[in-house]
């Protein structure tokens, strides 16, 4: 286990370095000079531009600039936002809890939908219930969340007189208001993941139910309920957990569509705002943060799989 962990950690080093190079070069590919993007070129004299270049370290060779930037990032200095004129990290500190709450709630929704329906679909394979739920799942994957959100808000407004809140309420100040704000976006975000979980649960349970130890359990005369809950579901959940890890990263990405619609001030809303404002340091920082997060999640998934399934470690 320790050897496997060390090997996986060593593989991370080149990946992280490449990610940082990609993020660093985002701004270099932009049309126009970096200085006009970073400082604005409204009426600056050549002298002023030269001073500014020197102040920002842009008169040094590109690789030297990269090392300076990487050194700053490694110390937690993600740069200063052009639009808010504050350190990006300060902006992020307020946004991250919102997205974490939204994503976790969406995962709960996805599991509540995906696991029971996937189980029913598998134990009643090829019944009408199976066909119905599978069709709904495929339909759920086809409906874009931004449209579903738009229609849902419209429907809620007519049915309950509900309107998207204008002001964000923190969970610790006003738990009930906070729940009301998060539950609808979480359902919309979670439906897609729920459909993926459902398909995975069905496939993996069907596979497990065909194995010898399940036949043994049947021939011992155990009840269907016991076989399902005690024997089959435990094993069939392993691939579901894997896919949840991967989906966690994708949920954060898809929050960029849902958060602005529901006026939630999270990370997705933030990156959308800074991209609209062409706030390059902030765009770089969020990309770097999210890519590193994905790498971390993948590592955690691999580690947990290796822990539960010793065969993986020796590959």
């Amino acid at each position: 286990m320790r050897q496997y962990l060390i090997r996986r950690l060593l593989l991370l080093i080149p990946t992280i370095i490449l990610i940082s190079i990609l993020v660093f070069s985002f701004v270099r590919f932009l049309p126009g000079s970096v200085v006009s993007i970073l400082v604005g070129d409204a009426g600056a004299s050549p002298q002023e531009i030269q001073t500014e270049l020197h102040r920002l370290g842009l008169d040094q060779p590109v690789y030297a600039q990269y090392f300076v930037w990487f050194g700053n990032v490694a110390q937690g200095d993600l740069g200063r936002s052009l639009s808010s004129n504050r350190p990006v990290i300060k902006d992020l500190e307020q946004r991250i809890p919102v997205t974490v709450e939204l994503v976790l709630l969406s995962l709960v929704v996805a599991l509540l939908i995906g696991v029971p329906i996937g189980t029913i679909s598998a134990i009643r394979q090829d019944s009408w219930a199976d066909y119905l739920t599978r069709s709904i799942a495929i339909g759920g994957l086809a409906i874009p969340s931004f449209w579903l959100a738009t229609v849902a808000i419209f429907a809620f407004t007519i049915a309950f007189g509900w309107i998207p809140p204008l002001r964000y309420e923190s969970f610790f100040d006003a738990p009930w208001e906070n729940f009301q704000q998060f539950i609808f976006p979480a359902i919309i975000l979670g439906l897609y993941t729920g459909a993926i979980v459902m398909r995975m649960m069905r496939t993996s349970l069907l596979e497990v139910l065909r194995q010898d130890y399940i036949r043994t359990a049947w021939s011992k005369g155990l009840r269907e309920r016991t076989i399902l809950v005690r024997h089959a579901m435990k094993n069939s959940l392993i691939p579901v957990v894997t896919i949840l890890g991967i989906e966690l990263a994708s949920l954060v990405g898809r929050a960029v569509v849902v958060e602005p619609i529901f006026a939630l001030p999270g990370l997705g809303h933030y990156i959308y705002t800074v991209i609209l404002a062409r706030d390059y340091p902030a765009v770089q920082a969020v990309n770097l943060l999210l890519a590193t997060f994905t790498v971390g999640i993948n590592l955690a998934v691999d580690m947990s799989l290796a822990y539960f399934d010793p065969r993986i470690r020796y590959k």
Binding site: L11, P14, T15, L18, I19, L22, F26, F29, L30, P31, S135, I138, G139, L141, A142, I143, P144, F146, W147, T150, V151, I153, F154, T157, R199, M200, T203, A249, S250, V252, G253, R254, V256, V257, P260, I261, I271, Y272, I275, L276, R278, V283, V286, N287, L290, A291, T292, T294, V295, N298
Partner: protein, 304 residues
């Protein structure tokens, strides 16, 4: 030497005539329709959509981008079956021409995706060693970025246009899909015929192009067919956020954003119908892609 062990018994004795290609394609299509009814529904939707995209100018008398002040927010009636939007443009025309935009971006994405996936996948898989490890770390790094956020960042850098959109989409999806091609090549290159090609002095390039490429067609078709749905969904999401297809071309995603969304209460038809068209399209392409995957490459079943 036991020749009998190479093929199942009986197949060597009778030489059946091979039917002409047209007949084989027809038989394959019939068996596909019979075994995969959902895939057949998807296929019908896709054919219907292609027809709409080609025939759009004949199906509607109105210009999809012409602004008519006197038609502003007209509800659906016999003149405008799907109503008119806040600028007085006929919604049906925009939905029909939107199919063109969607398919154009998706086609560009699929072409670039297939190109990148095959070149990167075959090179990386065949060369192996340090080159392969380096390429795979780059693929890891690109795939670590959340897809939509990476696309938004690329569109911010290069500017919104349909061409930039499908180049960026094709590139990112192609890099991701090169993994599938690489995996296929890794097992293909262990075959004796590759060794034979090398033994008679075939160059690396020749082996990759003549021997490996044709054998990756099945995974490439599967990748390609699943990419259509992803490209259409991504295009509409980016257009919804204002970084996809620029105005004035009608895009389903952009029709749902902005005024269409704000006016959901007064004029729900503006955002409702493009969403239905979009969902049906993505549904059709996913169904067809899933079915093709099951038929062409059973090992990939349930991977995406």
């Amino acid at each position: 030497m036991e020749h009998g062990s190479i093929a199942p018994q009986g197949t060597l004795t009778v030489a059946r005539p091979v039917p002409p290609p047209a007949v084989r394609v027809w038989r394959w299509t019939i068996s596909f329709l019979r075994n995969k009814p959902l895939g057949a529904i998807g296929g019908i939707i896709v054919i219907f959509l292609i027809l709409i995209a080609i025939l759009a100018p004949l199906l509607t008398p109105y210009d999809p981008i012409q602004v008519r002040a006197d038609w502003r927010l007209l509800p659906p009636d016999t003149m405008h079956p799907l109503g008119a939007d806040e600028q007085g443009r006929d919604v049906l025309s925009r939905v029909l021409f939107g199919a063109r935009v969607s398919l154009y971006v998706a086609l560009g994405t699929v072409v670039i995706n297939t190109l990148i996936a095959s070149v990167v996948g075959i090179l990386s898989g065949y060369m192996g060693g340090t080159f392969d490890s380096l390429v795979q770390r780059i693929v890891d790094a690109i795939m670590a970025f959340p897809f939509l956020i990476l696309m938004l960042t690329l569109m911010m850098m290069f500017g919104s246009s349909m061409e930039n959109l499908f180049i960026a989409l094709g590139f990112v999806l192609g890099v991701k899909n090169s993994r599938v091609v690489r995996a296929a090549v890794l097992s293909l290159k262990e075959n004796p015929y590759i060794e034979a090609a090398r033994a008679i002095g075939g160059s690396g390039l020749r082996i990759m192009v003549v021997h490996l490429l044709p054998n990756t067609f099945a995974p490439l078709i599967v990748i390609g067919s699943l990419t259509w749905a992803q490209a259409i969904l991504a295009e509409s999401s980016l257009s919804f956020l204002g970084f996809g297809v620029p105005p004035p071309d009608p895009s389903w995603g952009r029709m749902i954003s902005g005024k269409g969304r704000e006016m959901m209460e007064q004029a729900p038809w503006i955002a409702l119908f493009p969403g239905i068209a979009l969902s049906l399209t993505v549904f059709g392409f996913s169904m067809l892609g899933d079915a093709l995957r099951d038929v062409l490459d059973p090992r990939l079943k349930g991977t995406q």
